[in-house]
């Protein structure tokens, strides 16, 4: 019945998986609510139903009357939202507003952010995945306090039972005789048996709730990947072999293309993180995808596959694959495919702020001198310059000015970012075009396909500068691959980052 701040910094949780992305459960969005540029951050509570904390930052000075937020569940059959909440201004920061979002069902939500001010009313939608991602451990101090209180209650209850049988029926002043004392002891004994049974029952009940909760924790669909050699080069087969996908028992909605591709597959060589590919496998059927494998060096690779469901639910499937020998021939399955094998020593990458790209241009990370800290805005701004030092014009790469793939060296974190943040623009579009009658699976996907959306940021970026709204979720050593298109070629800049814990 009580609700307190659910996002406790000191929670000792068993972090499992995030929703779309790996180990990075929060949502970062940057875009425009009408005439108001905003940056929105939604902190995933880790449980469902739960309270997600949302902050809305106004990125341009405007006279604001109020900021409204409203989470709407994806399914029109069950989405019947209450009135929106007014986000409260954060004291000491005139551009920041915050509120709590009540996410009551697991699945895909759009958070409608409305800004009212001197430029009228502007609205934007931020896709948010509500999934249970962690099971909270009982802190030792709290556990000890509960055990102490529980023991006191048990002993106290038995003492009261004993006193009730021994003395409560006596006239005032009378002393209990031996018979009453004996009966009192028997009552305590019987009470202890009843209490023990009740405690055992309670324990079994708690264990059952815990087991049911754990079984409901979100796990991305299970997948496997294999590499086989063919006459035309190596082929990577990616199969979604999760029974809930194959049998559709969980009523997953179909996949829809994101930036024109049903799947964005990332390969990262485990260990050195020195080889990387961004591929777009083609579907053979609803469970199997194939792509030509670029001549990546041999080794074990971590694979991350981003997919978007018609419901707006996005997820990253994770698996591994071994490449025994580099492919000798590569005919890219898709013109947007790109790969890179880093020839520099890891130490050379570690402190690099300017990297030379394949076409001779440079990419500079304007990271500043301040350390990068967990859960604080990361300075992810990059400038691409031509060999003569002028800003390079960046062409849209799959509808985006740039893509950033970030992973921690142990693979515990993997995230695929755009200048719009962690969200999938396609997921956002599903919410924009969804209508109350969209209750048949596949209908909305068909309409999306005919509407040729996937707009994103279609215009070229003449300044050569791109930035990504994000905060690193965990401390550690990270590698970043920043991909842009310049002169009709995909360029990839590689950087490293050390992220420290907040103090």
């Amino acid at each position: 019945m009580k609700v307190r701040g659910l996002r406790l910094g000191a929670l000792v949780g068993i972090a499992l998986v995030a929703s779309a992305h790996v180990g990075s459960p929060d949502t970062y969005f940057e875009g425009a609510a009408g005439a108001y540029p905003v940056r929105v951050i939604v902190r995933n509570p880790g449980v469902v139903p739960g309270l997600a904390q949302i902050t809305v930052r106004l990125l341009a000075p405007r006279a604001i009357q109020r900021v409204l937020v409203l989470p709407v569940y994806w399914d029109p059959r069950t989405a019947a939202p209450p009135p929106p909440d007014v986000a409260a201004p954060v004291p000491g920061d005139s551009t920041l507003y915050s509120a709590a979002l009540w996410l009551m069902s697991a699945g895909s939500y759009s958070v409608r952010v409305t800004v009212e001010g001197d430029a009228g009313t502007g609205t934007t939608l931020v896709p948010v995945m509500a999934v249970a991602t962690r099971r909270l451990a009982l802190e030792k101090s709290l556990g000890a306090a509960l055990v102490a209180l529980g023991a006191f209650l048990c002993v106290g209850a038995l003492t009261i039972v004993g006193a009730a049988v021994r003395e409560s029926g006596l006239e005032p002043g009378a002393e209990p005789d031996r018979r009453r004392t004996l009966r009192s002891r028997i009552a305590i004994l019987l009470g202890a048996v009843v209490l023990a049974l009740a405690l055992l029952g309670g324990r079994a009940w708690w264990n059952a709730v815990d087991a049911a909760y754990r079984s409901g924790l979100y796990q991305p669909l299970h997948a496997t990947a294999t590499v086989r050699a063919t006459a035309t080069g190596s082929v990577l087969r990616f199969a979604i072999d999760d029974s809930s996908w194959v049998n559709r028992q969980r009523q997953w909605t179909p996949l829809i293309p994101d930036h024109g591709h049903l799947m964005h597959l990332f390969l990262v060589r485990a260990g050195g993180l020195d080889a990387f590919a961004h591929l777009h496998p083609l579907p053979l059927d609803s469970t199997t995808f194939e792509t030509a494998l670029p001549p990546l060096p041999a080794g074990t690779y971590r694979l991350y596959a981003d997919i978007v469901h018609e419901s707006g639910f996005t997820q990253t499937l994770v698996t591994r694959a071994d490449i025994d020998a580099p492919s000798t021939v590569w005919h890219a399955t898709d013109p947007d495919d790109a790969w890179l094998a880093e020839s520099r020593q890891p130490s050379a990458v570690r402190h690099q702020q300017v990297v030379r790209l394949a076409d001779g241009s440079t990419m500079t990370w304007n990271r500043g001198d301040a350390p990068i800290v967990v859960d604080r805005d990361a300075p992810l701004t990059f400038l691409v310059q031509t060999p003569d030092g002028k800003p390079a014009t960046l062409e849209p790469y799959m509808g985006m000015a740039a893509h950033a793939m970030i992973t921690r060296d142990d693979g515990a974190v993997f995230v695929h970012l755009h200048p719009a943040g962690t969200i999938s623009v396609t997921a956002q579009e599903t919410f924009l075009v969804r209508q109350p009658g969209d209750t048949v699976r596949g209908e909305l996907g068909k309409r999306l396909a005919t509407m040729e959306m996937g707009s994103g940021e279609r215009g070229a970026v003449a300044s050569g500068e791109v930035s990504f709204p994000y905060a690193f979720p965990q401390s550690g050593h990270y590698r970043l691959w920043i991909q842009v298109r310049h002169n009709h070629r995909i360029q990839t800049g590689v950087f490293d980052a050390e992220v420290s814990s907040a103090r």
Partner: protein, 387 residues
């Protein structure tokens, strides 16, 4: 056995003296019960809550008031109490206090224990995924303990008074607490015996036969009033009606999705069971068959309760589902914000899957007799309560 039923003629009752701590526990028991009913209405009307909703505050007030009052009583009695004050107490680890005070203190500690446990539960498993959870059970046990402790305190006052001259106030207050305990049964059994739509189901009568006689019969045995069960049933019904009438007046807006039923005011609890009629039957039977023949009495009371309750509720709920009852007075046809309006509101539910069969009636009768027997045993013990 100490006589429970009052004689037809008696000396004028003694002037009632209600100690402050007994009054405090009665207010606490009431506050906690009001808070629970209010909180349920809150969840059905508004949906989301915080730690500091007024309904929660009323529940906390019950725990704090009972705990502090009885804690202070125990400390004062233990360290500075007179011999007379100490004589009417029971011992607990060297401390002295009336039995009811110890039960109240235990209840307050149970409520305190449930708070951090419940908070952790929400953080770990989600916000009130189910109403019935281990921390909520501990909270409920704490609230029951406070109500029972208050009951014991009143009964010990009553029982220490001369049998023929016990102040009527004590009996009325004891019946009042039984009314609150009946409210607990209605709250917990809201799905089984709350809504009139389930009154043509076997489980409706089985649950009612299991939980109602034990309370009414215990009161009939332990409370010194001419019509103890009837009085307790009247209190129970009056409590419900007051809550129904007040809650309907308070504006409310749902704040949690999905909102299929846009309620504008607090959703009141269901109309109470018409317990006053079967309670009257219980009182009549218990007046004719006095103490000493408890198994016979249990059989008679149990069967009388079932017969009267069955006929009353079977037909009265048909009225409650008809348009004639859809008004402020009865407060029916108010539904949760998350329920989809439809003709189901005016039908009996599960009448085909859980019908009232002869077999179900036999089971119900056995439950009623057993419940009545337990009530007599409990009532006998409470009739002897002195401290």
């Amino acid at each position: 056995m100490t006589a429970a039923a009052a004689p037809a003629t008696r000396a004028p009752p003694l002037a009632a003296h209600l100690p402050w701590y007994v009054a405090a526990t009665l207010v606490a028991a009431t506050s906690a019960k009001v808070g629970i009913i209010w909180d349920i209405s809150w969840h059905r009307s508004i949906g989301r809550d915080t730690f500091w909703t007024p309904a929660h505050a009323a529940i906390y007030l019950g725990g704090v008031l009972a705990g502090l009052a009885c804690g202070w009583l125990v400390l004062r009695t233990s360290f500075t109490g007179t011999a007379e004050q100490r004589a009417a107490t029971v011992g607990f680890w060297g401390f002295r206090g009336p039995l009811g005070a110890w039960v109240c203190i235990w209840g307050a500690f149970a409520m305190i224990t449930s708070a951090p446990f419940d908070n952790w539960w929400h953080n770990a498993y989600g916000l009130d995924v189910k109403v019935l959870s281990p921390p909520h059970v501990i909270l409920a046990l704490g609230i029951w303990a406070i109500q029972l402790g208050s009951f014991f305190l009143v009964l010990s006052l009553q029982n220490r008074s001369p049998a023929e001259r016990a102040p009527r106030l004590y009996g009325l207050l004891a019946a009042y607490v039984i009314g609150i305990l009946l409210q607990n049964a209605a709250t917990i059994g809201i799905e089984q015996i709350g809504f009139p739509n389930v009154a043509h189901n076997a489980v409706y009568y089985e649950v009612a036969a299991g939980v109602v006689p034990i309370l009414l019969v215990a009161g009939g045995r332990a409370v010194r009033l001419r019509w103890p069960a009837t009085t307790a049933a009247l209190v129970y019904m009056a409590f419900s009606l007051v809550m129904i009438w007040i809650l309907q007046l308070a504006p409310a807006t749902p704040k949690l999705a999905p909102v299929f039923n846009p309620v504008t005011h607090m959703v009141p609890p269901p109309f109470p069971l018409l317990l006053v009629i079967p309670a009257l039957a219980i009182d009549l039977v218990m007046r004719r068959v006095g103490p000493g023949r408890d198994w016979l009495l249990s059989a008679l009371v149990g069967l009388a309760f079932l017969a009267v309750f069955f006929v009353t509720q079977w037909f009265f709920t048909e009225f409650l589902l008809s348009p004639h009852s859809h008004n402020f007075l009865f407060g029916v046809d108010h539904w949760d914000y998350s329920s989809r309006p439809g003709p189901w509101r005016y039908r009996f539910w599960r009448a085909e899957t859980d019908p009232v069969t002869p077999r179900a009636l036999v089971i119900t009768a056995l439950l009623a007799v057993l419940s009545a027997r337990l009530g007599l045993g409990w009532g006998n013990w409470m009739a002897r309560l002195r401290r």
